[in-house]
């Protein structure tokens, strides 16, 4: 069946038989392109299980991060209507009731990530506080009427869920659209709460044990800023009238700052609210945690290369601040890695490596030998071993297993030392190596960090740290290193502890030092003469330069040198390690192309230099110009760049035919060019309408046979 039609735009195809594809064939897609199809299944399974682990890990992280916030909110909600619970009727309470308890939830600029938070929030609320939670979005509520409809619809639905009564009549009610107004809401609420109370507790044990007798009604405004002020104001004013009948609690999701409440609502309205502010964790902290838990850990065998990480972080920082997108990018990395790297089957947990290495086929062994990092490794070995590695498969497998084990150990050590180094660099003034550990991580992955200028300057700065800072840093380092399971750092820990005791011993001597150093300054205060002052200062400088280092300074130098030696030993970039390709994903270009595409640039390239795509010698043209043999649309585009706001079609057509005719028959006699050839005319029409489709021009009524240009750049 064709999908071209002049009367229809949608075509549905249903396979007639029952041979429909099932989704578990996804592994099949994995196989299709990679030629060595032996273990694609295994690779796919590994990939999926890895992703699932990471996914659950990130969800866990998210939950933990939000826990504090949610706890606070829950306690706020349970506090808010305690009076209503106790059915107190005294006058002060009444007065207070005019105010609606409101929680303002500041969530940060990335609105799309809020969904997850809100979902978690409403789950928690429904579990702990109240079944009556309504989530409202601005786009559903253009007017107060829609808002009420949406609100009641959601409330009655959750009522159905909890009560699990015969759904039928309730659905009928919402279908028939009872008049959506506050009184009807209240009567509904009354009936529901009464029903819950009156019903036998045995039937309702589950729900009633979780909720109170008259649970509050929670209304969540997901994106408070996008609501129209009128709607919000009306809703607040109306519901404040009924607050003594209906225990309403509002939650505002705010992306910008709490000030927005006062800007959106006039004083008369905002005074009806009793606002409490809750601040969620900033998205940058969230990202740091995610990076900390996903990348700077040896829990997962899969690692990101420097460029890839940089791309992901850049997208986060410069485009969306979205942690979800970051995780999505991470998922794409995993998929790409396992899809494109046939050896990624070895990218698994340490326990499985042995088994997998020994089941490698000959072809796979060959592809290991082809890895650049492995070749470099082989070249460094003595000749006898080289031959063994290149010819003997079982020897190769042994070696591979060993190397992968080394890589794992390397990474473990790397992370520890990275954290130690971060302890130092994060407290230096101006942060030459970056404030966040991710920046340090990138710097270390990129090249040998100790060869960079930034590292040099940070060591300089570290040599000027004061004692208390240094001691606390050393203590932190000791803690970090102690937490490692291996014996690798036992000596380092001992050494650092030794430093710590030495610092303590310095205490007594330090006081004496100070006395000596004070004396020249006393001298300084006596002098008032400018000449003498200068002289003394110079002398002071001289003496300082030549002065013997104090014991503290000596020790400080020692400490810094020791840290430096650790860095040099453990923080070598990953791409110097053999077999790093198996574990590290380095396809930054692919990732960027998929996540941060530049459609307009692609169009521009295609139109301006078609030879980039069409590998034909005739199209090659030097000096940034365009050959007259280029595809029609390129020529037409190039010609239109020379025009202003309006383009005369006749001129355009003539220019086009000049170019095309010259390209086609450079020696044709002039007579034939008298009239524009029909074919050329048709080609011109097609090219122009293609430009119209692409959005470069549009028809214009300003002048006959003119089109308007829609872009105003040219080259």
């Amino acid at each position: 069946m064709s999908t071209c039609s002049v009367s229809k735009g949608c075509f549905v195809f249903k396979p007639s038989t029952k041979k429909r594809r099932l989704s578990d064939k996804t592994a099949h897609d994995f196989r299709c392109t990679s030629n060595d199809s032996e273990d694609t299944e295994l690779r796919f399974v590994t990939c999926q299980s890895l992703w699932n682990q990471i996914k659950s890990e990130t969800e866990q992280i998210q939950e933990n991060l939000n826990k504090q916030l949610l706890d606070n909110l829950v306690s706020f909600l349970s506090r808010s209507h305690s009076d209503f619970q106790e059915k107190t009727t005294d006058w002060t309470c009444r007065m207070k009731f005019r105010e609606i308890p409101t929680a303002a939830l500041v969530l940060g600029v990335n609105v799309t990530d809020h969904d997850l938070t809100f979902r978690g929030l409403s789950d928690v609320l429904q579990d702990n506080i109240t079944p009556y939670v309504a989530l409202l979005e601005a786009k559903d509520c253009p007017g107060i009427k829609n808002l009420m409809q949406k609100l009641m619809g959601q409330l009655m639905k959750c009522d159905i869920d909890v009560d699990s009564l015969e759904d039928e009549d309730c659905v009928q009610v919402s279908q028939n659209r009872i008049r959506c107004s506050m009184p009807s809401l209240i009567s509904w609420y009354d009936s529901v709460t009464k029903k819950t109370n009156s019903e036998t507790p045995s039937k309702k044990r589950n729900s009633s044990s979780r909720h109170w007798q008259s649970p509050p009604v929670v209304v969540i405004f997901k994106d408070m800023e996008s609501f129209t002020t009128k709607v919000l104001q009306d809703f607040i004013v109306i519901s404040s009238q009924h607050i003594h009948e209906l225990p309403l609690v509002l939650i505002f999701g705010i992306a910008t700052s709490p000030m927005i409440i006062h800007r959106l609502l006039p004083h008369s309205v905002s005074s009806l609210l009793c606002i409490e502010l809750f601040q969620s964790l900033s998205c940058k902290e969230h990202l740091s945690t995610i990076i900390d838990k996903l990348l700077l850990t040896s829990q997962f065998p899969f690692k990101l290369g420097e460029k890839v990480l940089q791309v992901l972080i850049n997208i986060f920082l410069y485009h969306d601040f979205s942690v979800q997108n970051f995780i999505k990018g991470f998922q794409l990395c995993i998929v790409e890695h396992f899809y494109s790297q046939p050896l990624s089957v070895l990218c698994c947990h340490l326990a499985d490596i042995k088994k997998r290495v020994y089941s490698l086929s000959h072809d796979q062994c060959e592809s290991i030998r082809r890895l650049p990092s492995f070749r470099r490794y082989v070249e460094k070995q003595e000749s006898g071993k080289q031959i063994e590695l290149l010819t003997n498969n079982s020897f190769l497998k042994e070696e591979t297993e060993k190397l992968l084990g080394d890589l794992h150990v390397y990474h473990e050590n790397y992370v520890r030392i990275l954290r130690c180094l971060h302890v130092f660099t994060s407290s230096l003034p101006k942060y030459p190596l970056g404030k966040q550990i991710r920046e340090l991580h990138c710097a270390c992955l990129e090249n040998r960090v100790w060869e960079t200028e930034e590292y040099e300057s940070s060591l300089q700065l570290a040599r000027m740290l004061n004692k208390t800072d240094l001691v606390t840093m050393l203590q932190q380092c000791v803690e970090i290193l102690m937490s490692s399971s291996g014996k690798e750092f036992d000596r380092a820990v001992e050494k650092l502890k030794e430093f710590l005791t030495q610092f303590q011993n310095l205490e007594a001597e330090a006081s004496q030092e100070r006395d000596v150093s004070v004396s020249p300054q006393k001298e300084l205060q006596k002098k008032t003469d400018l000449y003498h002052l200068q002289k003394t200062l110079l002398e002071l400088k001289e003496s300082r330069r030549s002065k013997k280092l104090t014991k503290f300074e000596m020790l400080r130098f020692e400490v810094v040198d020791y840290i430096d030696s650790l860095v040099r030993r453990y923080l070598a970039p990953a791409d110097e390690r053999a077999l790093h390709e198996i574990v590290y994903f380095n396809g930054a270009a692919v990732l960027r192309g998929h996540l941060n595409a530049a459609p307009r640039t692609a169009l521009h390239t295609a139109l301006n230099s078609p030879h980039w795509y069409l590998k034909n010698q005739a199209l090659r043209c030097d000096g940034g110009g365009i050959s007259n043999k280029a595809p029609d649309i390129c020529i037409v585009y190039k010609l239109h760049l020379e025009c202003g706001r309006l383009i005369n079609l006749v001129d355009w057509l003539e220019a086009f035919s000049t170019v095309v005719m010259a390209a086609e028959e450079p020696n044709a006699d002039a007579a034939s060019s008298d009239q524009v050839d029909d074919v050329i005319h048709a080609r011109f029409i097609r090219a122009v309408s293609e430009l119209e489709l692409l959005g470069f021009i549009k028809p214009s009524k300003q002048k006959t046979d003119h089109v308007a240009r829609l872009t105003w750049g040219g080259c």
Binding site: S5, F11, Q436, A597, A598, L649, V650, H681
Partner: protein, 576 residues
């Protein structure tokens, strides 16, 4: 002043640039600056430096365009500092190149470029200028001075090199002030290109056009051409150029029309036939290109299954590619193909085909949102349901609206609906905000195919294609046949009157009173009420259009072109 202009420039370039491209959001980076270490702070410094440079440049009187473009590049580079990542596919052009500002455009620039381009092979192969100039000079047909030009051309072959431009310049220095400013333009233009003989030919060519144009142009006094010139010297033409291009002042283009070309308009059918016969250039290379894209099919499948949706961009129709994907991989699964370029496609029709044909649901929905809710529910309930949706031209006129995109985005976010779509419009990504992007969960694929947009443009009421009118004629006949004899008479009267006045371009239509008189005389109506009732019926069928003139009189017009109307009257005569 300078600062204001710079601000405008920044906001303009921001507005025009792509959200996802090299020109990164300024606000985003400045928020980063606040507490994300010093690295970014450096960028900001750089940015401000380049802005300063910008201001300085505006103060300077620098006519050096190359310099300007370079500066611009720096500025854009500073904006998009984070974009140093490598791009595999050669699209690593800085935003400045894509959006560099216009150089001053003259009306004849296009012709110049055309002749320049036309000459490229000669440059490459062997300079053969004896034939070329003649041909070049002949192309503009409208030149009124063709006679004198012919003479010139004949003598050109020898004395062409030095004399012609001078003579032309002299000739152009007419008393008309408008012309004067024009000649200044062209003079400078030919001065630039004095070195090359061939280029001079193009100057001749362009100069020939200028008088023809200025003659024909209505002669409003060039009020501020001089003042403008002075200003131009003061400013870099960068900012000036934008406002010049968008000011409501007279547009400098030639007044030639297609009618004067004595060129019959092609209709859709002949156009198609002609193009079918014309060989597609670079077919082998294009096939090669497409094969590269086809090798990605299984990867697309994989990624669709993993919860991503795929969007294809790049020059060339992606319809064939998607069709191939569909026929090779989707034969055994339920899928929906949507032709976004179809002129009357709506979101509702997409949703309808899902509910009616895929889910076999009979019944209607109050709103698309309800329908979407229903679909969501069904797909969540039944995990075995799977649907592949292919949308050609997701950015088409009908689907690009905010609400349609919202609904499609929500649809695509369902885990068992797999969406693969293509976009073509240069501004397509502007349809999506963060919320929609996160719903769509796109993976972008560059698929430049260079295929002609045959299907996509076939519906378009293209500028040059004659509306064949066959559809209009048959519908006219159809409607008219269902009416009474009197009504047909009324319509005939109006049509005849309109045809009589077809040479009058400012014909406003037939006034109601006159029309009533004529109808009465022909015994077609007996009161103006009956006529009004009849006209209402015509209007409902879109056979006539009424509009009120300046004097409040109602004018009636048949919104069909003259040839169709003539055809119609002929047909009617046959019938009667």
């Amino acid at each position: 002043m300078g600062v204001v202009l710079v601000n405008t420039c920044i906001s303009l370039s921001k507005f025009l640039s792509w959200p996802a491209e090299e020109t990164k959001y300024l606000p985003a980076s400045s928020t980063v600056v606040e507490d994300d270490g010093t690295k970014v702070r450096k960028d900001k410094a750089q940015l401000s430096v380049s802005v300063k440079r910008f201001v300085k440049k505006l103060e300077n009187i620098s006519d050096n365009e190359a310099q300007e473009i370079l500066e611009e590049k720096n500025y854009v580079a500073a904006l998009g500092i984070c974009a140093q990542g490598i791009m595999g596919n050669g699209s690593n052009i800085s935003g400045g190149e894509v959006y560099s500002f216009q150089t001053p455009k003259r009306s004849n620039k296009m012709a110049e470029l055309a002749s320049e381009l036309a000459q490229t092979p000669e440059k490459n192969v062997a300079p053969d200028d004896s034939k070329c100039p003649e041909k070049m000079a002949k192309t503009p047909q409208s030149s009124k001075r063709s006679g004198s030009n012919k003479v010139q051309q004949r003598s050109k072959k020898k004395e062409f090199v030095s004399t012609t431009p001078y003579r032309l310049r002299k000739r152009l220095a007419a008393p008309d002030p408008y012309l004067e400013s024009e000649s200044e333009y062209s003079a400078s233009c030919s001065e630039e290109e004095d070195e090359d003989e061939q280029k001079e030919v193009s100057a001749v060519l362009s100069d020939q056009k200028t008088p023809a144009k200025t003659k024909a142009a209505s002669t409003p006094p060039p009020r501020n051409s001089l003042a403008k010139k002075n200003k131009e010297q003061k400013m870099g033409n960068l900012v000036e150029e934008y406002f010049e291009a968008h000011s409501s002042s007279k547009v400098l283009t030639s007044d030639r029309t297609l009618q004067k070309l004595r060129k019959r308009r092609l209709d859709q059918q002949t156009l198609r036939d002609l193009l079918k016969n014309a060989p597609l250039a670079y077919a082998a290379e294009i096939r090669n290109l497409n094969q590269q894209h086809e090798s990605l099919f299984s990867k697309w499948m994989l990624q669709l299954h993993l919860g991503f949706n795929i969007v294809l961009y790049g020059l060339g129709s992606k319809r064939d590619l998607l069709e191939k994907f569909r026929t090779s991989l989707l034969q055994d699964s339920v899928h929906l193909v949507v032709n976004g370029y179809f002129p009357s496609i709506t979101v509702r029709s997409i949703l309808n085909s899902i509910t009616e044909e895929v889910l076999d649901h009979i019944g209607t929905f109050r709103s698309p949102l309800d329908q979407l809710e229903f679909i969501t529910k069904r797909f969540k309930e039944d995990s075995s349901l799977e649907l592949y949706v292919l949308i050609h031209n997701l950015d088409s006129q009908m689907l690009r609206g905010e609400r349609s995109q919202q609904i499609l985005a929500q649809l695509s976010s369902l885990p068992s609906i797999y969406l693969i779509a293509s976009i073509d419009h240069i501004n397509a990504p502007l349809m999506w905000d963060q919320a929609k992007l996160s719903l769509y969960n796109w993976l972008w694929y560059e698929t430049t195919t260079f295929n002609p947009y045959v299907e996509e443009t076939s519906y378009e009421n293209s500028l040059l294609v004659q509306q064949s009118g066959s559809l209009a004629l048959s519908s006219l006949m159809h409607v008219l046949h269902s009416l009474t004899l009197n009504a047909r008479g009324i319509f005939r009267l109006l049509a005849q009157h309109q045809l009589e006045k077809k040479d009058n371009p400012s014909y406003p239509g037939l006034s109601f009173q006159d029309f009533y008189q004529q109808c009465r005389e022909a015994f077609l109506v007996n009161s103006d009420l009956t006529l009004r009732a009849q006209l209402t019926e015509f209007r409902d069928h879109k056979l006539i259009r009424t509009k009120r003139g300046a004097d409040g009189v109602e004018y009636l017009l048949i919104p069909v072109d003259d040839s169709t109307l003539t055809d119609f009257l002929e047909k009617e005569d046959e019938d009667v």
